[in-house]
Symmetry: C2
Subunit: 246 residues, 2 copies
Amino acid sequence: MAREPGVGGDQVEGRRAVHELLRAGRRSVRTVYVSSSAVDEPLVREIVDLAGSNARVVAPDKLEHYARTDAHQGVVAIAAPLRAADFDELIARDDAFLVALDGVTDPRNLGAIIRSAETAGASGIVVGRHRAAHVTPAVTKAAAGAVEHVPIALVGGIPNALERARRAGCWTVGLDDGGDTSLFDFDLADQRIVLVLGAEGRGLARLTRERCDMLVRIPVHGHVPSLNVAAAATLACHEVARRRHK
Amino acid sequence: MAREPGVGGDQVEGRRAVHELLRAGRRSVRTVYVSSSAVDEPLVREIVDLAGSNARVVAPDKLEHYARTDAHQGVVAIAAPLRAADFDELIARDDAFLVALDGVTDPRNLGAIIRSAETAGASGIVVGRHRAAHVTPAVTKAAAGAVEHVPIALVGGIPNALERARRAGCWTVGLDDGGDTSLFDFDLADQRIVLVLGAEGRGLARLTRERCDMLVRIPVHGHVPSLNVAAAATLACHEVARRRHK
């Protein structure tokens, strides 16, 4: 049997991300490396306390050696990888609020999207098994702990996943500069929903666009024609949250 | 007389950013370096056409040598620096819609904020002369051309600038996790306004917070307690836009 590619997430970098990894306690943590130059900062002291016997204070250059981003803030944790969520379970939930990413490749964008989705109360993230960025250390840093809480499902392809979501009763809503409806006028936000975002630069692939029940656009009022994909995801997720909680 | 530190922006990297630099035509462009490996991409071909005799196709390793980010996408332009906007002119405008940044240091966050502000129709960005990130190549890349359109003012300190803005008749609204009012309930958006965002991690400085007429929070519905500063700026700017244009 072919080995299932995992979600990743086994190396977590950055203070908020490692703090939340330890606080949430959802997966086992092997070692938390802390730079001796950072150990007196308040959040870092809490991290050392939470990590207990797994904490190892090391020299700054040693930490640089372990780190795989330049934004580690003096803290790197090694943990059990994240477990992929079951896509069919995610789409079956009564309150399904999913964010499907069709080829987002930049790790900071992926991490920022996971963080914004989690703060909006999204029930899951859906990424393509092969084409998307997985949860690298740069993703964990940008997600600031959100990967501990929001389930991430891997699917064979986004168009096929959208078809399954529709059959399960979810509305599939693509973010697209050419969408007919403004994000702020669309009234499906209190339904079970899958928001779909395309790759940086090229947007939604044709087949993905065709599988969406509707396409919504974010109104722009300047000269630059579009938002960054993480900014678009933030607006869309929090618009759903605003309508669900008003 | 001491030399005024400029806004920066003289090196522009990334396809969208360089395309918009040339299309907008607001400042002189000395040279546009294009990697020979990128020259056949549609947007790059347009860049070469727009740059005319200033375009120089170079080998990929030569371009790496000129580039100061790893996200240049094969295009680096050298241009006249951006000119700082006059803060007093910005706060005197009838439609003033400013975004003041109190110590945002990450270039990608700064660039993303400028892009989101521009797409929301903001009339200017305000940054501290000494403490903030200025417009580096990484900022131009993340701003995707927005720096060509949205004026950027440098001020001695954000608290003092907020005081001047208030005296000029603007409302000063800080984004703060502990704010009394939800972003989605605050009704000043059609007034002249300065949105104020704090540094990554620590948020608004005490003195800045005290100078705000009101503090608004972004409602969160998960476990992660706050949004990334660029995500918060995106939501706040587009909430103002939504109310101004409805």
